[in-house]
């Protein structure tokens, strides 16, 4: 029988709270916040994905918005073809579009994984500042690719005619969609927990701490990091597929480089190198954005300096602050 620790108790409580959220919001008469919560959970998935490479692997990727974008566009493009009955590819093997989540979402994951693989293949040859700038530049390249894709709306983006269909679920129902996203978020967290706890994760962390030593004892760290980067891109693509369904709209602004910056902010704000940190960071960042933008339309003039203060004085993130408070620091 597994030992019951404060950690597992906390996890159970957190899951219970997440599941109880829609009825609670209903009770207090603010059911529209379910959509806000869904959006937060989707970005939490993307932030967890980024944390795999950023926190555990020490690879500062400044281009993760690109993978979200590729995932979102995959769903958007397939849906467009399904709606107007045209073919995606014409030729010996004609391929049409689809609304089915069971086809479109895995394809979104696959497409992002492929893009991440090729970007990683080149970028991971470099390190440090070079890596930051190269991931940024590649993300920008993909951004411009979608901007110039006139068939699918170019700069103006692409409206989805309908959401994906999944096993007879009503994805138009905010609550149903919320539970689906929460289920995926928890699945991603469990997967990542297994991943970082396994030998694979130890090698990734080892490469972050001392790559030369890991090489010397025989681990091909480049390959491990490439796999890690690809998995991370794939998960971010899944978040993109969900985001496309929530907003029913995809546009190049999903891939804008400030998005990648915001994802880094979420991870660092929450606490990098932990799995719950990015989730906490996503909640905090998006709620703060909400609150500050209610306060003034010029909310960034507050948020910018706030970010600098966080970096200067609390660079281990909110989770780090909490842990320091309870003396329960493991990192």
């Amino acid at each position: 029988m597994p030992k019951i620790t404060p950690g597992t108790l906390g996890a159970v409580a957190a899951v219970a709270l997440l599941l109880a959220l829609p009825p609670i919001l209903d009770l207090v008469g603010a059911p529209f916040y379910v959509d806000v919560a869904t959006r937060i959970a989707i970005f939490a998935i993307a932030a967890v994905a980024l944390d795999l490479v950023l926190g555990y692997g020490g690879m500062v990727s400044f281009g993760h918005a690109a993978f979200i974008g590729v995932g979102a566009y995959t769903v958007g493009i397939l849906s467009t073809h399904a709606s107007n009955g045209t073919l995606l590819f014409d030729g010996a093997l004609p391929i049409g579009g689809t609304h089915s989540a069971l086809i479109a979402w895995p394809l979104a994951v696959l497409a992002s994984a492929l893009v991440a693989f090729f970007i990683g293949l080149v970028s991971l040859r470099t390190r440090g500042v070079y890596f930051i700038m190269i991931t940024l530049a590649f993300a920008q390249m993909i951004y411009f690719f979608f901007v110039s894709l006139e068939t699918y709306g170019g700069d103006d983006g692409l409206s989805l005619w309908e959401r994906s269909s999944l096993l007879g679920l009503d994805l138009y129902d905010s609550t149903v969609f919320y539970y689906l996203v929460i289920f995926i978020l928890i699945a991603v967290l469990v997967f990542c927990r297994r991943l970082v706890g396994a030998r694979f994760g130890r090698v990734i962390v080892g490469a972050r701490e001392n790559e030369r030593r890991m090489n010397a004892i025989g681990f091909p760290t480049y390959r491990y990091k490439l796999v890690c980067f690809t998995i991370s891109g794939a998960i971010a693509g899944l978040a993109g597929a969900l985001l496309a369904n929530q907003t029913e709209f995809v546009s190049p602004s999903l891939l804008h480089w400030t998005r990648s910056g915001e994802l880094i902010v979420m991870v660092v704000l929450g606490g990098m190198g932990t799995l719950l940190g990015p989730v906490v960071g996503a909640i905090f960042f998006l709620l703060l954005e909400d609150v500050l933008s209610e306060l003034t339309q010029h909310w960034m003039i507050i948020f910018g300096p706030l970010l600098i203060l966080v970096v200067l004085f609390a660079n281990r993130g909110l989770l780090g602050l909490l842990r320091r408070g309870t003396g329960n620091d493991t990192r």
Partner: protein
Amino acid sequence: MTAALFAEQVLNGLQLGVMLFLMAAGLTLVFGIMNLINLAHGSLYMMGAYLTATFQQATGSFFLGLLLALPATAVVAMLVELVALRQLYDRDHLDQVLATFGLILFFNELTRIIWGPSAYFLDVPEVLSGTVEVLPGIPYPAFRLAILLAGLAVAAFLFFLIARTRLGMLIRAGASNREMVSALGVDIRLLYTLVFGLGAALAALAGGMAGPILAVQVGMGESILILTFVVIVIGGIGSVHGALVAALLVGLVDTFGSVLLPAAAAEMAIYLLMALILVWRPSGLFPVNA
């Protein structure tokens, strides 16, 4: 492509190249000496453009406006260095990225508050509004030619400054071993602030000169910032002459790409160039700490 069109595109490419060099020189110096990656360098470019616009309206002269905008931007930058960036030199790159990302958000919003959300369009100064016949039968806008010449002059000045003056000697020394420079009694903090101000003035020059050919608007610094990153990555981070070579290369590839290639491929051309160069040389063409 006719010879005339070809010559014109070469000049356009070189003109974009020297603009990128003005940006890249500051960024790469700051990185080489202070080990600081400064995302807010594009904001200084934007500041330069807006201040040029404001001073031009006040004085009625573009050149006077530009001349005033350079020290003004440098002062703003040095204040930012004193208040915030100074704390970041010993931090890791991730912290620097985050803090300077915060600075971008701050500067963009500040600009929106002071100058409003709509774009400014500066007039090309009277003297340079015509065209010049660079080669027989090939006219070229005088203003663009002036940008090209000004950029080359600044590049020459910069190489003289770094290679031949006492300040340049300290800059080179600071880049290779800052503890030693500091131990020899040089006020290294003052040197850092000066270098940061110099980089800012160069960015402001680029921004001010871009004013009449591009729209002066919030966010204008970010598109050129990312191109500048491509430049210094290709050139080798910290290397000023690498920055010059890479800036001209990127300027030419970008210009010819948009003439010769279909739209989607044109936007991607310089990034593919970067990828190819990095596969061949992961630390850029002129790595500093080989």
